[in-house]
């Protein structure tokens, strides 16, 4: 762990430059450039609000806010994972040329997606204002589920990026896994919609507590229980520890397989 933080510190400028590079490349040669980071979620929100606000009436008031409060963190998670899975293989040419701490690549993929995620909160704020939905004071709690989410995502990124070096099938499997994970998480629905005899299945989901934290504080204006907070952070830390140790175990061999 100490080495982990040491490397993060040593390579902070490189990580930042790589993260910005990723964003720059993503939006390069588009007329609106960085605005897409705002426009993308904004357009998504517009569509969702129209569909669920006027066309389909769902028994949840302000369903778009209900949905977006967890859909945005989820989108962050799935995009960050999809990017970072390829981060080692994609930088194979580099690994063969210079000696550099390998963790900079998954971390940079995470950082670029964090920037994207934080930017996507701006249109959410605008939407909430436009809908005259109340701003709950519980927004100040958001850094906690964010931290838990970032830790969890980083751990998963390390884990899958490592396996992907040896078995390229992993990036495909991750895509399928993410789709299944999406529907098994209370994102488009709430856990209350599910018959209680199936709740145990949903509780196996390590992201449940984190997503719950986002929805409670943004939509309901409530704070999660201490138990739920502890669980969300614990899932994040366990994920990071497991992911990082798998990464450490194999990082020396990456260069022979990329």
């Amino acid at each position: 762990m100490r080495r982990f933080f040491g490397e993060l510190y040593t390579y902070r400028e490189l990580i930042w430059a790589l993260a910005l590079k990723e964003l720059r490349v993503r939006y390069k040669r588009s007329v609106l450039g960085f605005f897409w980071a705002l426009l993308n979620p904004a357009l998504l929100m517009l569509v969702l609000t129209l569909v669920f606000g006027t066309l389909m009436r769902i028994g949840v008031p302000h369903y778009s806010v209900f949905l977006l409060s967890v859909l945005l963190p989820w989108t962050f998670f799935s995009q960050a994972l999809a990017y970072s899975v390829e981060s080692i293989v994609g930088n194979g040419g580099l690994l063969k040329q210079v000696r550099v701490a390998k963790l900079v690549f998954p971390v940079a993929a995470l950082v670029s997606n964090i920037i994207n995620f934080l930017l996507s909160l701006i249109p959410l704020l605008l939407l909430i204002a436009a809908l005259r939905f109340p701003f709950h004071w519980t927004w100040i709690y958001l850094p906690v589920p964010m931290l838990a989410l970032f830790l969890f995502t980083l751990g998963a990124a390390f884990f899958f990026a490592t396996i992907n070096v040896f078995y390229r099938d992993v990036s495909h499997i991750v895509q399928i896994l993410l789709t299944a994970w999406f529907y098994l998480s209370p994102i488009i629905y709430s856990i209350d919609f599910v018959p209680s005899k199936y709740h145990w299945i949903l509780r196996l989901n390590p992201l449940l507590y984190v997503l719950n934290g986002f929805r409670l504080s943004i939509y309901y204006g409530m704070l999660p229980s201490w138990k739920s907070v502890a669980m969300s952070l614990a899932c994040g830390v366990v994920s990071l520890v497991v992911g990082l140790s798998v990464f450490r175990r194999y990082e020396r061999s990456f260069v022979y397989y990329v």
Binding site: V25, K96, Q97, Y167, R168
Partner: protein, 257 residues
């Protein structure tokens, strides 16, 4: 050996690779191979018990045929590969010019790539900024510096990569057969820069097939043959040995690489 202050020391270093065609790439191949796997597991010893020392300020050439292990030595010295066995000790910072421009991103401009590549080679952002103008000037890129490098000619690309790598000002410069950079004029500039490095007391490790380059610039030469260090010493002597090996033995050319 001039003195004991060596910069690079290899002590009984071996590097073993699993042959690519034996390496399963996808799960399906794993399943298909699981039965034969252990029996057909093939290893390739790229370096066999190599030992040598390179003193501070020396310029050492490595010669050998294709696939003999020259580049592997460079990559082990640069810390890209971790030696399978033996000890490698390196003192000082290294700038590897192994595959020039491997860290470049085609969509980014020359200027953006300078920053990224400089950071990758271990500089801080401030150090890159300080060197930026000199890098651009040396690479003779002019206005192209703010265009994406996918629009560069291959010569411009190489010049930029060489310019960044050498402005890093490392203690040790590792050069892998890249002196075919650009036109004659630029090649001359590259050599001058390398010689300046040498005058400044830096250590240079150079792989080249060009005997005259080796003869002209190197203090010492290592001859690598099939992963073994078979001769070491003054350029004339080792080059003669190389010629002899080349003309008299029918060494099968390794497949691939």
């Amino acid at each position: 050996m001039r003195d004991d202050s060596y910069c690079i020391e290899f002590e009984d270093v071996s590097q073993v690779f699993r042959l690519i065609r034996e390496r399963p790439d996808t799960l399906r191949e794993v399943f298909a191979k699981v039965r034969h796997y252990s029996s057909r597991h093939q290893k390739f010893e790229a370096l066999k018990h190599i030992s040598f020392r390179i003193g501070k300020g020396e310029m050492v050439g490595i010669i050998g045929r294709n696939g003999s292990g020259k580049s592997t030595i460079l990559k082990v010295a640069a810390g890209v590969y971790t030696a399978t066995s033996g000890n490698v000790r390196v003192r000082g910072t290294i700038a590897p010019l192994i595959e020039l421009g491997a860290g470049f991103h085609h969509e980014l401009t020359g200027r953006e790539n300078i920053l990224l590549n400089g950071l990758l080679l271990g500089l801080t952002k401030r150090q890159v900024m300080e060197r930026e103008e000199r890098i651009i000037e040396f690479a003779e890129l002019g206005d192209f510096i703010d265009s994406p490098i996918k629009q560069y000619s291959s010569g411009m690309y190489m010049r930029l990569a060489f310019s960044v790598a050498t402005e890093v000002d490392p203690d040790i410069l590792i050069i892998d057969e890249i002196l075919g950079v650009g036109d004659a004029g630029f090649k001359q500039k590259c050599f001058e820069r390398i010689l300046n490095f040498r005058r400044a007391g830096k250590t240079i490790l150079l792989v080249s097939h060009d005997s005259s380059t080796i003869q002209q610039y190197c203090d010492r030469v290592l001859l690598i043959h099939a992963g073994e260090l078979i001769a070491e010493g003054a350029p004339e002597r080792v080059l003669a040995r190389y010629e002899e090996l080349y003309t008299h033995t029918a060494v099968p050319v390794p497949v691939g690489q």
